[in-house]
């Protein structure tokens, strides 16, 4: 469902993403790992058609991100790192706007909103303006926004950041529940999360893919836990 081919992007002299390629199918949950500034968010922004790559391309659900970005945007749900939303709007008004923008109307709109509000447990803040929400609720509103059209592909940039342990657990359960039907990419710093939900993991540093494997395989190969493996791989990189 996702085919990434040699994606590259730099900002001035800094190369953020340096030729990454991978393929991902339905039912897979990919954990995108890497130290800060490794290029995870930039790569996700390119897949969500917010940034244009300098070279290379990607195909999502059969549509190319360069030639058919509108179709790509329709078929993905994207949660950006800061979970952006319009602070002055209430949660309800915000979700209605997202439905309007995605062309979900009438009864379908009501049902879609009902579904995601329950799914993300934001009933209690439905009438509250977004700028007054706590970080956890804010992020869950962002998640609701990404799920509202029941997309085939989900791109979530640190979906559990700022959530308390219970909420983290809930979001992980939610991802696991959706995993069979969808193709999901999540970026995270939390390695236990990768073990809990991901069927595959990619570690990137300085824009390059260092490892593309499954958490199980990786642990077997290195005979260590993910935490140690991650440190070994990315620190080694820094010194070199």
């Amino acid at each position: 469902m996702i085919k990434v081919k040699d994606l590259r992007r730099s900002f001035g002299s800094i190369v953020a993403v340096d030729g990454i390629s991978f393929e991902l199918g339905k039912g897979e949950v990919l954990g995108f790992l890497g130290p800060n500034g490794a290029g995870k968010s930039t790569a996700m922004k390119m897949l969500a058609c917010f940034l244009e790559p300098d070279s290379g391309t990607a195909e999502i659900c059969g549509a190319d991100i360069l030639t058919d970005p509108m179709k790509v945007r329709q078929s993905i749900g994207y949660l950006a790192e800061s979970a952006p939303a319009y602070g002055e709007m209430t949660v309800g008004a915000f979700l209605k706007f997202i439905c309007d923008a995605r062309g979900i109307k009438g009864r379908a709109r009501m049902e879609a909103i009902d579904r995601v509000v329950k799914l993300c447990a934001i009933e209690s803040v439905y009438h509250q303006s977004i700028e007054t929400l706590s970080k956890g609720y804010h992020r869950r509103v962002g998640l609701a926004q990404a799920l509202i059209h029941d997309p085939e592909v989900l791109i979530l940039d640190e979906p559990t950041d700022g959530l308390d342990p219970n909420q983290k657990h809930d979001v992980r359960l939610l991802i696991q529940k959706m995993a069979k039907e969808k193709c999901i990419i999540i970026s995270t710093h939390i390695l236990e999360e990768v073990e809990a939900v991901c069927t595959r993991m990619i570690i990137i540093a300085r824009g390059k893919i260092l490892v593309d494997s499954t958490p199980k395989e990786l642990k077997q190969k290195h005979q260590a836990n993910l935490d140690e493996i991650f440190r070994k791989l990315t620190e080694h990189r820094k010194i070199a």
Binding site: R73, I76, Y86, A93, F97, I98, D100, A101
Partner: protein
Amino acid sequence: MKGMMAVCKRELKGYFITPVAYVFLVIFLFFSAYLTFKGQFFEARQADLRVFFEWMPLLFVFMVPAAAMRLWSEERRSGSIELLLTLPITVWQAVLGKFVAAWIFLGIALGLTFPMPLTAAYLGNPDGGLIAAGYLASFLMAGAYLAVGCFFSALSKNQVISFILAVVGCAVLVSLGLSTTQNFMASFLPNGLVSALEGLSFQVHFDSMQRGVIEFADISYFVVLIVGWVGACGIMLQERKAA
């Protein structure tokens, strides 16, 4: 189209769920009335709105950039542009949606000056066509100011910078048509250039329209200005949306 409509609706609502709309409307209505009655409205002993419309170019220099500054600056500062432009909405739909919303808002502000024509009608027998032409000219001019404001709003993440640049941009476009500026320019520029610069001014085209002469040249001036600045705003955002 649905994307543009969604953006437009949200933006227009955005004015009214924040205090922006109310502060803007109160100040705009106060000053438009104050400047009219303080000017020669009664002394002229004529039932028309000439004095009222005469102040519009100057009033808009400050008011329209204030309504336009948040359009893109806020979006870029808060990062919500990343949400907006990863929805199935193109940059152009978003730019037009926001522009139309702000233009409708300015239309509402102009519409709320209805007590002015009512006052003139109460006092005498004003020429309805002239007043309609004045409103049309004001509305078109507001659109042109707004297009300038939109562009500068896309230029900076900081609303204050956007506002100041837009005010300066609009002030330059107005002042090119003022006789004092022309006299000054005539002292060191050739006549041809001075009249060419005069032709670029809001003032000249607005004056001829609000006198009731609706010419193709004046309407196309405003349309070209709007298309040009809104187009530049779109190009700017394509380039710098993530910066």
